[in-house]
Structures are given as C-alpha cells and as structure tokens.
Symmetry: C2
Subunit: 179 residues, 2 copies
C-alpha cells in the first residue's frame, strides 16, 4: 500500500475482530516495521511481545477490562520500555517517544496488511493492569508494558473520528500566520 | 512509495542539504501526514510551523547551534505541543506520544518524497533553545517547540545506523521466549 494511503486510511478500531488467526509472518512484518522506527540516540529501547496464544489472549483481555476489541482479538502486540528509563542525552530519556514512533509504524503496517487495531495506553495505567499483564507475559521488573495493540481483521466497519481541518493546525513561518 | 519501503528506507540524515527550495505543496503534504497521526483521546494536540523564509531559517540555525543539516536546510518543520499538557484521561496527558506519532509520519512522508531529515529534540531542550526559537516564530507562552525537522534534498549520502537484529527485540507470547 502507498505510504500516504496507509497514513490517511489508518483509524482506531474498537469493535469486534474476527477470530481468524493472524499468520506469524504478518505479526513479524508488523514488528519489524515498529522496530525500524528511529529512537533517541539510536538506543533502540522498545521491545515487543507478540501474543497469539489463545489462553494468554483470554487472560490479557480480562486483565485489560474486557473491551470488545480485546476480547475478540486473535493477536495482540505488547510494547515494552524500561520501567525507569535512563537518560541518554543531557539528562533526558526518549523512551516514550521511541515507543510512540514504533507504535505508529506498526499501526501503518497493520493498515497496509488489511488488519485493524487501536493504540491502547491509558487503559494500561490504571488498576495495575500493566503490572498484571507484565506478570502474565513474563516481563521482568525493569521493563513495563506501555502500549497494547490488538490485531485482527475487523468484523464490522469503522471510521476515523472527525478531525480539525489540518489547515487550522499548521502555518507558514509564524504561529497562527494567515497569509 | 510503498509503506514498508518508506519505513525501512527512512534514516536520520545529519549532513548538508541542497539549497533547492522545498515546494510548499510538498511541505503541506508532509504536514497533513503528520496531522493524520492518532492522538490520545483524539485531542489532536500537535501544531506545526512550516518554516521556509530564508531569514528565519538562518536565525533558527544559529539558535539551534549551527549544525550542518540546520545551517543548510531550505525548510524546517517546528512541532509544537502545549507547554503544560492538560491530562485527558485519568490524570494522564499524551501529548509527547501525539507529537512523536506525528513526527514519525512526517519522517516517512519526507522519505517517500525524496527528501532527508532528522528528528531533533534533545538539542532544543538545552540553552533555552526552544524558548528562543518559539520567540522567533511567534509561539505563545502556552505552547512549546518540542521537535524540529529540517527538510531538503540531501547533498551527500547517508545511511541508517546499525541496529540490533529485530529478532533480538521481539518474542512470541513470553518475554525472551526462544521457541
């Protein structure tokens, strides 16, 4: 799929996914897309767990609150960063950025391969869900599940949420310039 | 360009850029790609300033420490988020993630259109550079330049930095599983 089509067709899908398994070759292609993203100081911090074991998927969905997209997902990708990121430049760490760039690449790859997904993050930060999911997947104490991406073929139709006109969000040469 | 080609051909370019101006239509296409990225709770927080005025580019390069890629850039994109992001979900704000996803989309668009760029972030956080650049571009006190992307045709050749094998960074079903 053309890059610009993938960018503009990507949307957040929260409905049911079909039970059809996602071939591991596709999961690995999505993972490689994520891991090809840039990282601050090339520290390559994100790690991924590609979950396709039905028993683990069922437990993960329960930990994460039973949303439809998770309860029906034939696969999910857990994105990990360090629990306490070390600074890599002048006292700053960039692992949140590294993770987000990897996630965006994976959402585009998901779109190009005909799957649907949604970036789940805040959902993990409440009720000790990240910790419980980490325990389920054998994540060591120094790593933390930061983002979850369910992956599968959508059972229903979805659409992008409405967005502001892009021309209200960029300007040439000066903030809010109108010329 | 195919999505996967763009993802795997993108690299961070720090050398000289050619002085050829970047057509505004290309800058707008890159901007739209960035603004099409997802954002936490659909808050659509990033704002962009597309800088192509030669006097502003020269001042910006000086503020940012005179790196070759900035000193020669015929255009740059300043990505803004709120100076003090408001929480949008359970006390959490997602503007750093929103910004990073937009930046990654823009880097892929830059690649597909035959330009080169590099994600500059830490560089802005020292010596009050973000504040000085904000003042130059008329950015109000409640917004902050978080990332800068120089954009232009590369004068030299560049290459991706070496990366760990991807298979050392993902596993199926369990952290560090080897099966």
């Amino acid at each position: 799929m053309d890059l610009f089509d993938a960018i503009h067709e990507r949307y957040s899908y929260r409905g049911a996914l079909l039970p059809t398994p996602v071939p591991r070759a596709d999961l690995e292609r999505i993972a490689a897309a994520g891991l090809a993203a840039p990282s601050g100081c090339n520290a390559q911090t994100p790690r991924l767990i590609l979950v396709d074991d039905p028993a683990l998927l069922a437990e993960a969905a329960q930990i994460l609150g039973g949303r439809e997209v998770l309860a029906t997902a034939p696969a999910l990708i857990a994105v990990l960063i360090d629990a306490a990121p070390e600074p890599t430049y002048e006292g700053f760490a960039f692992q949140i950025e590294d993770c987000a760039a990897a996630v965006e690449n994976m959402l585009l790859a998901v779109t190009a391969l005909g799957y649907a997904s949604v970036w789940l993050d805040g959902n993990l930060r409440v009720q000790n869900r990240a910790e419980a999911l980490g325990a389920l997947l054998g994540v060591p104490a120094d790593k933390r599940v930061r983002v979850i991406l369910p992956v599968g073929r959508p059972a229903g139709t979805g659409a992008r949420r409405e967005k502001l006109p892009y021309t209200d969000r960029y300007w040439f040469n000066r903030y809010e310039a109108r010329d």
